[in-house]
Symmetry: D3
Subunit: 137 residues, 6 copies
């Protein structure tokens, strides 16, 4: 019988961003995104929780080695986004609004490709302690 | 292909309550509810996490505007329950025991009615850091 | 040479209270205390951190046995205030407004009497995660 | 219509452990488990969150009495593992590697047997704030 | 006898910043400030804890009304820094490096002027959960 | 005028230990230290907060570079204690009871020697979320 276990690894990165839709006027952007539209950017400490689901390896008791998962997140996500301006410094958000929802989807796609296909993946991203998102829902 | 994302908003309120079943004797209530049956009430800082699931709007990257969600929670839930005695000051718990389970169900019903029907809703309510509930499960 | 160490023990209790000055009119109380003046009470999860300062006993390495400190707090503070209405159920707040400041002073006095006089004591009380007090300052 | 609610109870225990596969050489164990293979053991504060899902009893508003759930966890899990060496002091891990995944599965099995069969159970175990697991996934 | 009590109010703001000394070369700035020198800025969720020390007013039991303190912080600090680029959008950091130390000193000076002179003030500022500062020490 | 600022860095390590006084009988040790005397050891996730007080350097705005402070803690404290058995694997606790009080004093002494003498140092050590110590008091 299969015994699927979820393992979670929490990481974090700091980044600047602004929310803006280039197809809209400045007024429309200001009306919809408010303070988050500040043209000089603002920023967040993003807390990232990566969930991986699979069956523990009977020889190790591990679904995945947490050190390997942490290294994978560092290489594919943190080195790309930490201490960066998401709008200016990353190709992922050159034409995509860096809402928490979109950042979570981007992180999912970055990690999914490199993960063993037998493992399921879910991303939780805290923009603040009070606003956070999860993908896939 | 649909890309459903969950967004979460954390809010809080403080309230007094007591657990009591009017169909029972005082002894039975004391036996079942213990300290929570104190006739003079006790109270909690309730932490409320509202989860909304839907597809991000391609123009904004938002499932729902967090400022609107926060306003909706304030208007429909916090203004009704914050700094109140749930048993004495609210019609919702006039004839319903304000257990954490029942408070979560009531909050779900208050918010569900006003939310876009395409969005799914789930309520998590912390009565203390160590006791919390979720509805629907 | 003396090596003073501070030890901290975190406990918690839930209580109902209201802020009210009986020398004032209802309007004045409402104006000053706002929602906290609700005549039907509201409530909080109080987090209590007790700090005790002294020199570690060379035989145990302890300033004070944390199990003894925890028992002392339970006996003198939690059994008195947990799941109670501070205004109605306790003699300490029969004639004293149960503001966080006053609750901290009362807890200090309750514990100071029973603690070894060579030990210093300080009380930190969280009324919410965002409002807390410390006595003595 | 059924209204299933999840209730959660958070408990904790402290324990020593080491990760080791007796079928492997010391070098292989060191290579795979790294610092966690220390032959003299290391330890953790394990935070345990037990989730129970069912319909609230209409007379009490409870899915399960949290005091009973807490007592059950204390009797079946904490008394067995708290302040213990998982490898040396427990029969559960005499021949099973005490990875977080395996500890969660063991705790699930210990509790499932004693819980009303109409209730669903899920275990979340924090080995550290940044590494945690959930079973069943 | 005087009974001084400390009261604490926790607030938060999000901002972008970069660390840079204009008297230095780009290489020197990069060497000293590392990732924090990113010319496109990065950002943080700043948690701010304001400590005010004084004697409780015997009529209210308050050192200071927390609603007033919260409004003062909002008006003097949050409205100025929240969702801003500290380097570009504020006059306080036009010629001052926005290190956590300097931000805490600036916030102290902004609040001290408007606070009753009988009250003592201390600022704690969390740049991340793991890096924080306090002024005056 | 001097403007002293405190900076804090949070780190963590996991370790096994037992409390025991070799000058006492097994019964006496059991009576005083209880579960903490388990001869097979138990363990903790220790959260360590290092406080350093000094004047910010006018050129950097730093009291001390947090990356340097973090490296110093890693080299002098974490590499020595993380994933270790404090009683068996460290010379510091070969003849000293590893109570939280004593661990904090040892960490203070390890760091004080290598820190610029113009800087003041204080150690806070969390053995659990509810039991923690500070040295010097």
């Amino acid at each position: 019988m299969s015994k699927k276990v979820a393992v979670y690894r929490k990481e974090h990165f700091n980044a600047a961003h602004r929310l803006n839709n280039p197809a809209w006027t400045a007024e429309e952007n200001q009306r919809v995104f408010g303070l988050c539209n500040n043209p000089n950017y603002h920023g967040h400490n993003y807390d990232l929780i990566v969930k991986v689901v699979g069956e523990p390896n009977p020889e190790t008791g591990y679904v995945i080695d947490m050190k390997e998962l942490s290294s994978l997140i560092k290489e594919l996500v943190l080195d790309k986004f930490d201490h960066k301006n998401l709008n200016l410094d990353t190709k992922e958000f050159e034409h995509l609004n860096p809402s928490a929802e979109n950042i979570a989807i981007v992180i999912y796609d970055l990690l999914k490709d490199k993960l063993d296909p037998s493992l399921d993946l879910q991303i939780r991203l805290y923009e603040t302690e009070r606003n956070f998102v999860e993908y896939p829902a």
